[in-house]
Subunit: 151 residues, 4 copies
């Protein structure tokens, strides 16, 4: 199924690109891009013992990472293979303890400017609707040709 | 050397307590509590390949985790073995790319109420003073005897 | 039209209650509650020269105040005349410069616990859909019978 | 007394510049710049009935405005009369209820890059040391010659 024409990648093309540039994250199989759309992305974090805390709940850093990855994927899906966007701010509210299991992050971009992208992401357990966490993030988009410095 | 009388733990006592309740984090040797003081703590994240990103920089989730851990340690040092504090909000600004190497988080509590603790933490590379990230966090402190639910 | 049965106020009842407890805000006519619903509220900030900045745009503090008010209204609509909720954290992203004119805040609660409420709010110019700002806020809900201290 | 050579304004020069470009804020006498220094500024909010809430406490939006102004002043003191910096994110934690009276905001820049400035600000009642609120803010610094768009 082709991606909508306004996207810079097909789903498979984006998966391949990320596995190439961030092999540590994307080849482990921990995160999986489920869908990309206009200004949006859905990413799943596979249950893994490394992410668990006593009582079986998912760790805060694992939820932070999922929120950041989902927003980043939504940005890349729009802007394509330009120099990397860099997270400048992430604010996360932890709402409920997730049970052990997969967590899904649904990201939506609120702004995609020339230099700054801002988005929000809701995290919920797979198969549930109640949010376990909610985050907003800001990303600096480097000018083409520059490195990916935060300047 | 004894800890100041207002603290609930000695440094060694707190290390032992954390290794007991969070063995996954504290037995790996990745994080090390360097100091605790009144309303403050200093925690070091040892360089580890799992935390690296292309170019050798430290990952955002690893810095998030260090900020959260340093604030949590500062709270525990004050309140002792009471039911667990739970992170409810964490806001992090990424300021500069850290070079590979150890990162130190210096946490300071801004408020320690009966139900709510708030603190800030600056992260810098070991041996440097420029901050690579800065975070503020809010923690819900459960009533004694209740579980560690966020309610 | 009666409000849904799960709400603690009718729209008129909530307006009257707020005019009684916060006359400085609610009798000036600057803010108007347009709607309340389950875990949600819509509040309008009337254009007023006090809120303007050079170039005619709405000031940041005026947008902050609208976000805070809309979340607060959504909480009160659920919990009723209990001791006051207190804002403990508000994080706001400014996305676009609003033109002069009314601004509408659409608030949605993400969590309403016994002690902690968290919500998000999108701000847009009246008649437009693009967000000019987006905020998330956390509120401490005092126990019944206590004052409205942040403790 | 001359300001340190690394600053772009003297204290009086910055006061005059702000009164010229933001007369609504700076001619009312509500905010007063007390000091500027390298990467820092101190600004006082004069007690005014408009900022009060029931019980005599200072309103959240008035504290938000003070935090934003103090950070903005610290940036201008460094970069001078370049096109305006624009607040892109502000995160504020409310810690204690301030008594009626003046509030002082002490701002410190954590980063001043070509495009992005980030700082923190502590707010306390005049004559007290305990913080009543703490904020961090991010500012987009437009390229010279462009407008003050958030892009």
């Amino acid at each position: 199924m082709p991606s909508p024409p306004q996207l810079a990648f097909t789903l498979d093309g984006l998966r391949a690109y990320l596995a190439e540039i961030f092999p540590q994250i994307w080849r482990s199989g921990g995160h999986e891009i489920e869908a990309i759309g206009p200004m949006s992305a859905r990413v799943r974090l596979r249950r893994h013992d490394d992410h668990l805390r006593p009582g079986g709940t998912i760790s805060g850093p694992a939820m932070f990472a999922l929120a950041d990855v989902a927003l980043y994927v939504a940005i890349l899906a729009q802007i394509g293979r330009v120099p990397l966007a860099v997270t400048t701010n992430l604010n996360i509210n932890f709402l409920r303890k997730p049970p052990p299991g997969d967590i899904v992050g649904e990201a939506r971009l609120l702004k995609l400017g020339k230099r700054l992208a801002v988005g929000e992401v809701g995290l919920h357990s797979a198969g549930e609707t109640a949010l376990v966490a909610h985050a907003t993030g800001a990303y600096s988009i480097p000018d083409r040709g520059s490195g990916n410095e935060v300047s």
